[in-house]
């Protein structure tokens, strides 16, 4: 045994003596995290305990985020396919509502917390992460700027055939962003029942209506 | 009973800068409680300051002054060791006086 080995053994022995239990494995730590989660929260208002039992999509993305290991391409595709299947076109066939109401929805961060009344009107939280109209200075930068969203994409008439692909994509993105990006940080507004179909139509108008301040 | 004020009085260049923090709700009278009832206004109305017992400043405040108010002002000629006393009175008739030495 050379000196360094001896030192390592000595240190290891000391550490073992100080901490009778060795460090658990990754799987054991995953289990411990689940146990601690179960002991650390209580239901409050509409925020029930089921909200800390993530679905498979979230479990996979969280693991990838935490370990820094990108999802296998096939796994990512499967997540996107699953979420794509949830997207419903508007029942009345109308993709765009009223941009003014869309602006109010984009401004509001209300809804779904334990202090919100169940069934109260939810907001879209949009300005928390995105620049949208130029007038609102208080916008977040977690998501890309949506200023001139329709204009930059050449949407002169949202009802035209040329605009159809971008209109449908935007509808899908608002309904369920994970259909296009497996681990997107954007909430699944339609799929998770955060915004109603009518509300999504209004936000669509905010982004795509040439009359909206977003496209001025 | 109200909590004490925090008074910092620092001498510089022949004057003393006084910084005061007061512990007070400063309820504006504009807000409603959970049942939609107006929460009555409750705020500091009068503030007075004295240097070594001699009044040097009076102020009248409205309900718009922020909760846990901050006030900064400057007393001429005050030097280290001088005593600065601040008194506030609110619209419920409560009052409080605290004192600090200029450092």
């Amino acid at each position: 045994m050379n000196r360094i080995d001896a030192l390592i053994v000595a240190v290891a022995t000391t550490l073992l003596a100080a901490c009778s239990t060795p460090m658990p494995s990754g799987a054991e730590l995953d289990k411990l995290t689940q146990d601690i989660l179960a002991r650390s929260f209580r239901a409050e208002g509409q925020a029930k305990l089921e909200r800390i039992s993530p679905d498979e999509d979230n479990r996979l993305c969280a693991e990838s985020d935490q370990t820094g290991v990108a999802l296998d391409a096939k796994v990512a595709q499967a997540i996107e396919a699953r979420n794509m299947a949830t997207i419903q076109p508007p029942k009345d066939g109308k993709f765009l509502g009223d941009w003014k109401q869309g602006e109010a929805i984009a401004q509001s961060g209300a809804g779904k917390t334990w202090t919100d009344k169940e069934g109260s009107v939810n907001g879209g939280n949009c300005y928390n992460c995105h620049q949208i109209s130029q007038e609102e200075l208080s916008y977040g930068t977690l998501g890309p700027s949506l200023y001139n969203y329709g204009k930059l994409r050449g949407v002169a008439n949202p009802n035209s055939v040329e605009s159809k692909p971008i209109v449908e994509y935007t509808w899908g993105k608002l309904h369920n962003a994970r259909a296009y990006n497996a681990c997107s940080n954007m909430p699944r507004f339609g799929h998770k029942g955060i915004l109603t179909e009518v509300q999504i139509q209004h936000v669509m108008a905010l982004l795509l209506d040439p009359a909206s301040p977003v496209n001025k | 009973m109200s909590d004490p004020m925090r008074i910092r009085a620092q001498a510089a260049g022949g004057n003393a800068t006084i910084r005061v923090l007061m512990s007070h709700e400063m309820e504006s009278g504009q807000r409603k409680d959970g049942n939609g009832k107006i929460i009555p206004a409750w705020h500091i109305q009068d503030v007075t300051a004295s240097l070594n017992g001699k009044p040097v400043m009076t102020a009248e405040w409205g309900p718009a002054v922020s909760k846990n108010p901050f006030l900064q002002f400057t007393i001429k000629g005050a030097k280290a060791g001088d005593k600065v006393a601040i008194t506030w009175k609110d619209n419920r008739g409560e009052s409080r006086t605290d004192e600090a030495a200029v450092t």
Binding site: A62 | A12, F70
Partner: protein, 283 residues
Amino acid sequence: MSCLNSQATAMMCPRGMTARIQIALTVTLFAWAGAAMAQKSSADSIAEYRTMLQDGNPADLFEAKGEDLWKQKRGPKNASLEQCDLGKGPGVVKGAWVELPRYFADTGRVQDMESRLLTCMQTLQGFNAEALAKTPFGKDEQNNVTAIATWISAESKGMTFNLSQSHVEERKMYEVGKRLFYLRGGSHDFACATCHAQDDKRIRLQDLPNLTKQPGAANGFGAWPAYRVSNGQMWGMQLRLNDCYRQQRFPYPLFGSEATIALGVYMGVNGKGGDATAPAIKR
């Protein structure tokens, strides 16, 4: 005098001003001179607003109250907290906060500042720690816990974070905290990491510290307890995390729960070497 200051502009020295007034005005007018400059970005304006708030943080009021409470004989046993062991031995307050959360042999748990205070309030003063943990924020003894935590943190102001990872329980809590940090859930699929795992991002106008590394971890973790301007309340880390989880649309984390303590370990260890700025003033 102030006119020679490198930050000063000609605007700070209007005619007729006496030298004496100039001195007194320096602090106040610094911001004013800034305001007079043309074409400032909104980010600059917000930074200026925050600077204006720094002088005169109402957290001072809570700090003073906390120190009083620490020394006061209170509770069923009519005792003070002066013999409380925050990790550096009974009664040692200075420097305690920058090493919390840590493992405590007497309780066999990793504890943060607030949960440790409950232990001391029970063992020394005879309060019921479980009942204190269940008391809503902002009510009764919870206010006192916050005030005491404010004072304890202030006693470490300017020191650098140095959390221990020598005990296996401390290392386990770091790993659990990391997993919790990335856990996506709630109606909106949010994790702590959604907002706090990148550099130079903001929500609305608020800068979001990247809590996974320095300097973000110490900037974020090291600022609480902080005075919240928006509601005029003093918030400890337990309430800070509670409201994060509320906005994440998660269920309600229990006061002093293992989950919130594990997150404290994760952030605190990530912030090693960073400055403790608490008690801060926040929007």
